[in-house]
């Protein structure tokens, strides 16, 4: 990884107005958890709520992909769009290093926004019980964010409409179509994340049932991330000036 490009990417992300929106979005689970804590009925099941509705629900299905999408497209898309990418590309730095630096910063930024809020939300809902659930989703979110960041980094280089393409993937492919065709779980980053999270706790199937076992989920996540990064590097090697102009 090239530290200069990583620093530049971090400053790019910190300077963007949408970063504030992302942080607010990432804090949403904490607000929901507090609401649950103070307004849930007495017979509510915290484990069920944490695993199904909060961490396995809104966090994994919506907040995780959105936060990572915004950071990954912010890390790369901007440069490609306004032409400043030329200043990085007109240097002998290998394209692989440029992609890795941007990807890792986007991933790190996503983790920084997602993990503390998700862990805090889980702890607020569960209190001291079910520590495996919080740890499991922390790992699942980290893994999911890794694969999403790789995929959205590739999208940012491949298309000037990466944000739209990313939203379509998250909400149409993973959100709608995966419910209709069970085979899609093999091509769903969300299912990799929940599959990996499921390795850390044991809940009844009626409460939480990942569609992928942990081992295949981890293998598929690793393969998908590697493939996306490879595609991103190849795409950047063939990037032409004026493509997004």
């Amino acid at each position: 990884m090239n530290p200069d490009i990583a620093r530049l990417t971090a400053r790019t992300l910190l300077g963007q107005r949408r970063t504030i929106l992302v942080v607010l979005l990432a804090l949403l689970p904490v607000a929901i958890a507090l609401l649950y804590r103070f307004a849930a009925p007495a017979d509510a099941d915290p484990e069920r709520f944490a695993a199904r509705a909060l961490l396995g629900g809104i966090v994994t299905t919506t907040i995780l992909p959105l936060v990572t999408l915004i950071f990954a497209t912010g890390a790369f898309g901007q440069d490609i769009e306004d032409g400043t990418a030329v200043y990085l590309l007109a240097t002998p730095v290998p394209r692989r290093d440029i992609v890795l630096a941007r990807f890792l910063v986007a991933w790190a930024a996503s983790l920084a926004a997602l993990l503390p809020a998700a862990v805090a939300a889980g702890l607020i809902v569960l209190g001291g019980s079910g520590p495996g659930i919080v740890a499991g989703f922390a790992v699942g979110i980290a893994a999911g964010s890794f694969v999403y960041a790789a995929a959205f980094t590739w999208l940012s280089i491949a298309t000037s409409r990466a944000l739209v393409a990313g939203l379509l993937y998250v909400f149409l492919w993973e959100g709608t179509l995966s419910g209709l065709f069970s085979g899609i779980r093999f091509l769903s980053i969300r299912q990799y994340a929940t599959g990996i999270a499921g390795a850390f706790f044991d809940l009844p199937a009626s409460v939480f049932q990942p569609r992928l076992e942990p081992a295949p989920a981890a293998v598929l996540a690793a393969l998908a991330a590697a493939l996306m990064l490879l595609l991103a590097v190849r795409r950047l090697q063939r990037w032409e000036a004026g493509e997004a102009a």
Binding site: N2, T84, Y87, A90, T91, Q237, R238, E240
Partner: protein, 308 residues
């Protein structure tokens, strides 16, 4: 090229098309040490040629080389090549100094800070180097981009419309800088759609019109071609009809016509007209009030060069 060393920039039968649109059509040229101007009207294909030369656009056909190495998909060439793109965008949150130093670091220079200071001084940006690039004027952005492209002291420099936004003083300063760099043996290729910018700086000129190389060579020869082309003027005088009759006797005058009551004169060339018009006026006893060229646009000059 002398001594068998490869040309700084070499295009061989290079074409580039986008779908059915041909942006650059079978262009071949070599650029050696010195300043070479790529001249042509807007949309002629100058930027496409420069992007291909700089390795940022794949030629649809032909071969592009920098110092003997392929330009496309070869980041190694940037060790010896500097590029100043036309687009204005720079990292607005970085100061000028940080921007140039970033370029120095990416080139893995041994002392990036010193290299950045040197390059900033070259473009006369010392005073503003501590300000964020986002606060710069167009001309300042242009100069800081040039500093970033010069920071690793490249042998070949490619600049797309480098004088855009520069005020006359900055323009002279940059021209002086490019001349000095060329005198040190570097090859500089820059594009412009402004004749005077090329006239004042370039030793060699490549004229691009509608994606084709219309003329190339020493600037003075091309300037002569441009000067000697047929010119048209509208003329106002104390007696247009008497002047028209007398002008027809001048060998350098190709024809006269009256359009809407105005006398239009076509001459063989600018200098020929400059001699024939006053001579004819004197002989006819007519006073010339106004002589106005009607087709001095760059496009018409280029169109003439293409027809040749």
């Amino acid at each position: 090229m002398s001594g068998g060393s490869p040309p700084a920039i070499e295009l061989r039968g290079v074409s580039r098309w986008y779908g059915n649109v041909v942006a650059v059509n079978d262009v071949s040229f070599e650029v050696g040490p010195g300043v070479t101007g790529l001249l042509g009207p807007n949309g002629a294909g100058k930027s496409t040629i420069l992007h291909m030369a700089a390795g940022f656009l794949r030629p649809s056909a032909g071969d592009v080389r920098i110092l003997g190495e392929p330009a496309w998909r070869n980041p190694g060439i940037y060790r010896r090549l500097g590029l100043v793109p036309e687009r204005e965008a720079v990292y607005g949150f970085l100061t000028g100094r940080e921007f140039v130093e970033l370029a120095a670091r990416l080139h893995r220079l041994p002392d990036p800070a010193a290299a950045a200071e040197r390059a900033i001084a070259l473009v006369d940006m010392d005073a503003a180097a501590g300000r964020p690039c986002g606060t710069y004027s167009k001309g300042m952005k242009q100069r800081i981009k040039i500093a970033a492209a010069l920071v690793h002291d490249p042998q070949v420099l490619i600049l797309d419309e480098p004088f855009n936004g520069a005020d006359p003083r900055q323009r002279l300063h940059l021209m002086d800088l490019f001349r000095r760099m060329a005198a040190e043996g570097r090859a500089i290729l820059y594009s412009s759609h402004i004749l005077e910018e090329v006239e004042r700086l370039a030793d060699t000129v490549l004229v691009i019109v509608a994606g084709r190389l219309a003329a190339s060579g020493d600037y003075r020869q091309i300037r002569a071609l441009m000067t000697d082309r047929p010119h048209a003027f509208t003329v106002r005088s104390s007696d247009d009809r008497a002047l028209a009759a007398r002008l027809l006797a001048e060998p350098a005058i190709r024809g006269v016509a009256f359009d809407d009551g105005r006398l239009e004169v076509r001459a063989d060339g600018l200098l020929a007209a400059a001699r024939a018009l006053p001579a004819a006026a004197r002989a006819a006893g007519v006073t010339l009030y106004e002589v106005r060229p009607t087709d001095e646009s760059l496009e018409s000059v280029f169109a003439y060069l293409v027809r040749r």
